[in-house]
């Protein structure tokens, strides 16, 4: 079983809808330890994503994803812009010229997205950032694909792992981003960026 560019577009639009519907919650989360604008920034980034995905509807998967990433970069998105932007750009790089993806392609796409994003930051799992949702999300996706599950099944596992990863951030002390100066006072609330990352994965899964 493979999935097409059209399905990828549906996944992109679905995750944009999911994220936009949570923008107020994300800003509230960000205000606990940051500057209270993560939802606003994500909403602006998702406007850019939707536009790019629609403009590039007839292009290969990689080109569409690259355009999404570039438009996020252009949306002046604080920390979110370079991080989310490079996730999409990395996913695009892995799928350049492709019009459909196998399970292996699909997992590799997320892996390259994660790798590109991680070039932008030294944050590791446990540092209370979006890495805490991204890493389990991508690793679980790879494991489920390798275990022979279908793409929709693997993506559902992945979304569940991302959500669990985000939820755990409440126990962590922030080491990156605006929250790091809070020290121990950053323990308690969940991280805004990890939460939005988990919604991104949930949106992808919901479309399959």
């Amino acid at each position: 079983m493979t999935i097409t560019a059209e399905t990828i577009q549906t996944m992109i639009l679905s995750s944009a809808t999911e994220l936009r519907s949570h923008h107020e919650e994300l800003s509230v989360l960000d205000s606990a330890t940051g500057d209270g604008d993560h939802g606003t920034t994500i909403a602006r980034a998702m406007d850019a994503v939707v536009k790019a995905a629609q403009d590039k509807a007839s292009e290969p998967i990689g080109e569409m994803l690259h355009a999404c990433g570039w438009e996020i970069m252009c949306s002046d998105g604080g920390s979110t812009g370079p991080l989310y932007g490079s996730l999409y750009m990395g996913m695009g790089k892995a799928t350049k010229g492709k019009t459909e993806l196998t399970g292996e392609d699909f997992a590799a796409m997320f892996e390259e997205g994660m790798a590109t994003l991680r070039k932008q930051t030294k944050a590791e799992p446990g540092d209370k950032t979006l890495i805490d949702a991204l890493v389990p999300g991508v690793e679980t996706l790879r494991a489920s694909i390798d275990a022979g599950k279908s793409i929709p099944e693997a993506m559902a596992d992945s979304a569940a792992a991302a959500a669990a990863g985000a939820a755990k951030t409440c126990d962590y002390q922030a080491k990156f981003g605006r929250a790091r100066n809070l020290g121990e006072r950053s323990i308690g609330p969940v991280d805004a960026g990890a939460t939005s990352m988990s919604y991104l994965f949930a949106g992808f899964a919901a479309a399959l």
Partner: protein, 336 residues
């Protein structure tokens, strides 16, 4: 509660404020491509250009310091959000193609640094990265002076860097020389912020932090990122002394030294209060035998209508004193 601010659609805040700013100061600044604030009249190509980047919502920073003797280009993001790498790249490219060199000044905040790094990667592909030298400001001493510099925020000190580096650039110094003066200043400056009252994020209408009615917080960041110094309200004199003590220690000033003192209002704190605080600092420095070689009190980098201020101290030598005193002609800092 409804947000009480003069605005139209919150989504248009940044473009509208930039349009208003350049319309009010057309002889000093112009807008290129919507988000780059550039000098109305460009500096000659044989001089080093100064480029910086940062979110909006901190007016007059950063774009209020574009002009003769200070910045050449300020790349503006959105409210409290760093500009994306493409715009930063465009500004650096413009400056590097035209000028003999570019000093690129980055305040240490995650978004700004990531954007700047990606923009530099792009510039590398053009073979222009060699013309650029980077100053990363990280003078917030709230987390402690031993904290690794990547964990220390850039606060109002950037304005001082623009001023001293801008003077060197205007004087026709080489990129290495401009960098050297900026780097020296950057390494002997320190800032500490104190917050009394929260501000409303103008895009969301939400408060950016909470403080009890009788609490203040020393070490608050410039977006309401909390510090570690909550305490009961102190008097102006006590606040001045507590903060100045830490800053003087951080910059290592001792008897006979000369310092620059800047008091930067966060938004709602009055000049009246800042003058009273300045008086407290002066009294304290007098007891230490430290001279105030230069000073200014006002709003340079604000956080909406937050109550509080940033206290900035830098050690001065003759070169830095002269650079600080050199002429400048920007909308929000003019020196004759």
């Amino acid at each position: 509660m409804a947000m009480k601010k003069f605005m139209n659609d919150p989504a248009d805040l940044t473009p509208e404020l930039l349009e208003g700013y350049v319309a009010a100061y057309p002889s000093k600044v112009k807008l290129v491509n919507g988000k780059l604030v550039c000098r109305a009249e460009e500096k000659s190509a044989d001089k080093v250009a100064l480029v910086t980047l940062g979110g909006a919502g901190h007016e007059p920073a950063l774009s209020g310091f574009v002009g003769e003797g200070m910045l050449d280009i300020s790349v503006v993001g959105d409210i409290f959000a760093a500009p994306g790498p493409p715009n930063v790249y465009q500004a650096l490219k413009m400056a590097a193609e035209k000028h003999v060199g570019v000093l690129f000044i980055i305040l240490n905040h995650a978004g700004d640094v990531m954007s700047a790094n990606m923009a530099m990667d792009m510039l590398e592909n053009d073979g222009l990265a060699d013309k650029v030298k980077i100053i990363n400001t990280h003078e917030d001493i709230a987390p402690g002076v031993d904290t690794p510099i990547e964990d220390r925020r850039g606060l109002v000190g950037c304005v001082g860097v623009y001023k001293v580096a801008g003077a060197a650039a205007e004087a026709g110094k080489s990129l290495d020389e401009v960098f050297a003066v900026a780097d020296k200043f950057n390494n002997q400056m320190a800032t500490l912020a104190v917050a009394l009252k929260t501000a409303t994020h103008p895009s969301t209408g939400g408060a950016i932090f909470e403080l009890a009615a009788d609490e203040m917080e020393i070490g608050m960041g410039q977006h309401g990122e909390a510090g570690t110094g909550r305490s009961a309200m102190l008097s102006a004199d006590k606040t001045a002394e507590v903060m100045a003590t830490q800053l003087i220690k951080a910059v290592g000033a001792t008897e006979g030294d000369s310092v620059l003192v800047m008091i930067n209002g966060a938004g709602a704190t009055t000049l009246m209060e800042m003058f009273i605080v300045f008086r407290g600092i002066k009294t304290y420095l007098d007891t230490l035998g430290i001279k105030i070689g230069a000073s200014c009190v006002g709003e340079y980098l604000t956080v909406q209508e937050m109550g509080g201020f940033q206290m900035f101290i830098a050690k001065l030598d003759d070169e830095l004193q002269a650079a600080w005193d050199a002429p400048a002609d920007t909308a929000y800092m003019t020196v004759r």
